[in-house]
């Protein structure tokens, strides 16, 4: 399993707070649309702590690693 940061889009206010603290430019925000660019994200978690309304959270990518399970 791999630790991931996940956004719950239904709860998101699209305020851009997480974008402003992301040192990797890994969060993209358009009108009513937000996504984390996984290749750039380092899981530093700054976006999680700065979100005022708990939209971002840690999650585990349960599919990761399965390719190696033989």
């Amino acid at each position: 399993m791999v630790l991931l940061i996940e956004i719950i889009p239904d709860k998101c206010d699209f305020c851009g707070c997480c974008v402003g603290v992301c040192p990797e430019d890994a969060i993209e925000l358009k009108e009513a649309e937000i996504k984390i660019i996984e290749e750039l994200c380092t899981n530093c978690s700054k976006c999680v702590w700065s979100c005022p309304i708990e939209v971002l959270k840690f999650n585990f990518d349960k599919t990761a690693g399965k390719k190696n399970e033989k």
Binding site: D13, C15, G16, C17, C18, G20, S50, P52
Partner: protein, 389 residues
Amino acid sequence: MKNEYDIIVVGAGPAGSIAAKYASEKGVSVLMLEKDRDVGYPVRCGEAVSLAGVEEFVKPDPKWIASEITKFSFISPDKTEVLIPFEGKGIILERKIFDYELANSAAKNGTEIITRAYVNGLLFENNSVAGVKYEFRGKQYQIKSKIVIGADGVESRVGRWGGLKTFSDFRDMESGVQITAANINVDPNTCYFYWGSEYAPQGYLWIFPKSNGLANVGLAITGDIGKKRSAISYLNDFMNNYFPNASVLSSVAGGIPFTPTLEKIVNPGIMLVGDAARQINPLSGGGIISGMIGGSIAGKVAADAIISNELSKIYEYEKLWHDRLGKRHEMFNRIKNGIYKFSDEKYDQIAHSLVGLPDEKRSLGNVAKRAVINNPSLLIDVAKVFFSK
């Protein structure tokens, strides 16, 4: 619409609109792009400003004044209330109308405005920013300009693409959350500020009254506090305890960079204004007036640089901003670092000593003095703020 403009402003908030207004006033061609559907929406702001600050840019209009403020109320952790008359007059804005008005004033001067235009990159020529790429109704466009003014808010990426370091440390980024609620029975002419660990540790909670029992109730906490508990949970607790019968009409959240201005706000072909440049007062978190001041300076400097055909003149903006407000914000930041770390007991001590003063001696200067007694290292900075012009 043209293929090329002298200036492109990205973001139609107060800083962007004022930059566009002042630039187009000088006769240069200006295009302003806004990513949202509406100028001024969603509103992410407490909406409190000084009337004098607004008057510098736009004639006051009852349409966008929700209430007038004549007093401050400071409430300490043990619920001691200190009422202080406000020197001058404050107002609570209706930002949705106010922002329209500012954009309208830019348009009247000749600025072209497109909403739902999502800027997703910059154009470069000879190592200088030379325009923007944007998406509009699913199609990609490119448009050239001599100067790009980034007014794209706290989430600014325009600056980053232009080689400016716009990232904020999460410890300095306050997590703000606010509701506009009905049935908030407070004095409609008083702004309330709650301090202490119960309400908003390393920040403050505010109630800014609008008309007819409506009020903006919000708070901001640092990312460090947010690690342990979210801003919204503090606000929910406050509302349940103090206004259980309130009805929430709208809610917003957002980051407030309680920091001094970025070290660099200009690079070849690009200037940053407002929240994007971190032109927020780091003590109060207020950014409307200071953003408009930044925008006005940038707009004028950019237009002058184009008219004189000396684009390197845009660097003058950094100095002019620092002379007008930037240095002052650095001082506010030092004061904030002292005051926001006070313990609950210290806030209570200050409130108790102020309550004992006769009404005429209660002033913001006296609040500052009492704060200084508790942290003498703040003395010089506070003195500079309150006793210099």
